[in-house]
Amino acid sequence: MSALAHYFEEEGLATTAIALVREHAEKIRPPRALWVPFELGRPLGAPDEPEFQKRVLRAALALLESSTGPVVLEDFPDDAPGAKAEDMTGWVCPVSFAPPPAEDQGPATATLQEIAELSPWYQLSLDRRKRTMVGVSGLEIDDATRFVASFLDETPAENPMPDRPAAFAFKDAFTDILAYYSEAGTAQPGTRSSQEVQDWFWQQTAAGKLMLAVQEAARNSADADLRIFVEKTMLPKTQGG
């Protein structure tokens, strides 16, 4: 991120960067950067906190009026609202799943059942948030699941995204499944940490188990892109990835 500031500024465009990793800003030395002590993925601090977000923006934009450069690296003084562990309430997903289908029906069947049970919660999320992050692959969620699950088979299903290499189509379908679960599981307003939602998906859902099984199966795939994806960018580091 901070490197882009060098390129823009060399082209005559003034920049101010928000930095989530202070050590990187210290090394890259962009003209102006505001380090923020927020969770990765949340450069403005917290969702639905417009006044706090504006405070962050004001602090970053104010660096444009600094006359002490080049290289201004300031620290934003406050943690994000809700970022402290003690603010968390021990979130649990409100959905009580029915007992999984018989073991021999496989993880794909169990995941499809789960998705059906989550459907009203996903709809509730749509009604409340007025938006969804599902839609990267363009597939219906059931079809995305079947496609991902087919990588358990010796020969995966035909790539449903003809303009995308199969490994990236797999990744896009996976992204949609994650988003579907995340949105449905958090459809009710309330405080929860991103870690709690992630733990729920990977440790308590059939979809998480399906993904782990697919990851294991795809480690030996002939598709190098797929191997890289499942080994490096599928399971979060906080889940042992």
Partner: protein, 153 residues
Amino acid sequence: MARMEDLVESEQAHLRHLPLPSFESTPWIGGPALSERRVAIVTTAGLSLRGEKLFTRGSADYRVIPGDADTGDVLMNHVSVNFDRTGFQDDVNVVYPIERLKEMAAAGEIGSVADFHYSFMGATDTGEMESSARELAGMLKEDQVNAVILTPV
């Protein structure tokens, strides 16, 4: 929370050993008062509009996000899974603060908001993005932009 010591060890190691570009000097462009600045957002969050061409691993190009795009159509397809997405799921402004900038422009805190904003996919080597970034600088200047806020993810 993004203090290095708060991250799991494997993530700390990854971030500490990430190859970073080095620059011999730092350029510095001035400009008018904030109340006269036209501001654009450039993010590395891997954002694109629904139905648009998706990023892949190593993508060095960027996507255009019109300032009046429905935020419901702004999707994230970054390749990394090692950052939170639930914040963006709840509110695009936590990554792409378009509504906050518009409010600040309406209040006279900044001059105006650019017509177009842009997203790269930050897992790519930034050196690979250089030519795209320089090209983009020209487009931003054509839009009379004289201040860019860069947001990571």
